[in-house]
C-alpha cells in the first residue's frame, strides 16, 4: 500500500493518493475579491490541477462536498459547477453551509476521485 502526498504545506496536503482513490483538501479560491461564481471557477480549476497531479481528472470524481457561507449563493455556485461538469460524469454531491477560515471565502470544495 503506497500513499502519495502532493504539495504538503504546513497544515495539510493539497491532495493525497491511496488505494485507487484521490482525496483533495477542502479547496478555496486564491483571489477572494471575486463573487461566488468566480470563486467557484477558481476552486474547480485548482481541483483540475490537483487531479492531474495524481493522473486522474474530473471525469473520475466520485463524491464532492461543497460548503457555502450563504445557501442563497447556491445558484451562482451551480452556474460554475455545471459549466465545469458539462453535465457529464456527475459525482455524488452534498452542498451545505458553514463558516470558512476567512470571511471573504464564499465557497470551499472537497472531492474524492477514483484513479
Amino acid at each position: 500500500m503506497a500513499i502519495t502526498r502532493h504539495e504538503p504545506a504546513k497544515i495539510f496536503s493539497k491532495v493525497v493518493e491511496a488505494n485507487g482513490f484521490v482525496f483533495t483538501a477542502g479547496i478555496v479560491a486564491d483571489n477572494l475579491t471575486q463573487d461566488t461564481k468566480g470563486q467557484t471557477q477558481q476552486v474547480l480549476a485548482e481541483i483540475d490541477r490537483l487531479l492531474k497531479l495524481c493522473g486522474t481528472d474530473k471525469t473520475k470524481v466520485v463524491s464532492a462536498t461543497i460548503w457555502l457561507t450563504d445557501i442563497r449563493n447556491r445558484d451562482a455556485m451551480n452556474e460554475s459547477w455545471n459549466a465545469w461538469t458539462g453535465g457529464q460524469n456527475l459525482p455524488g454531491r452534498a452542498c451545505i453551509t458553514a463558516a470558512l477560515a476567512d470571511p471573504r471565502m464564499l465557497v470551499e470544495i472537497q472531492v474524492t476521485a477514483a484513479k
Copy 2:
C-alpha cells in the same frame, strides 16, 4: 478501474460506485412537510434503494455524515436512525448542523458503503 454512476440528474448522480466502494449524494426527503423523524425515514428509505441499485445494502455502510438544520432535532433523527440500523452493523458517523438547500429540509444524509 470502472466507475458506475446511477441516476445522474443535472447537477449530481444519486449514487456512484468505484473500487469496491459506493458513495451516495447527500440525500434529502421528497416530502418536506414531514418533521425530522419522518424526513429521516424518507432519507434512509431512499438510501436503501440507492444501495440496492449498487448491489449492496445498509449492513455494509462504513461511514455516514448527517446534517441537521437544528441540533435540537438530533434525538428525533436518531429515533429513525436507530430503527433503521437495528443497532447492527453500525457505521462511523458524524452528526453536525448546516443550512440546507431549502428551508423546509431538516436533515440530509450522505453515506459511503463497501460492496
Copy 3:
C-alpha cells in the same frame, strides 16, 4: 470483502475498516471542560487509539474533516493539530464550522486513513 467494526455503541461504531481504508466516526473530547486546544488534543489522542485498533496510524491518514463551533478557534485547534502531525504525512483537510451535539463541544474530527 470484509468489514470490521470496532467499538460499536448504540448509534455508531467508533471506527470501521473496509477495502484497505479505515473510517473513524466524528470524534469529540471526553472532558468538555477543556478549551479548544485541550479538546483537540483529546480528540487526536482518541484517533491515535482508534487507528491503532485497525493496525494503522496517523502517518497513513489521507483525509480529515474538522468541525469547529467557532472559526475563531482555528488557530488554537491548529496548535494541537500541528503538534500531532509534526508537519509530516499531512492529509487533505477541510476545516469548517457547525454546531455540535453538546454546546460544550468545541471541535469534532473525522479521519479516513489507509492501511
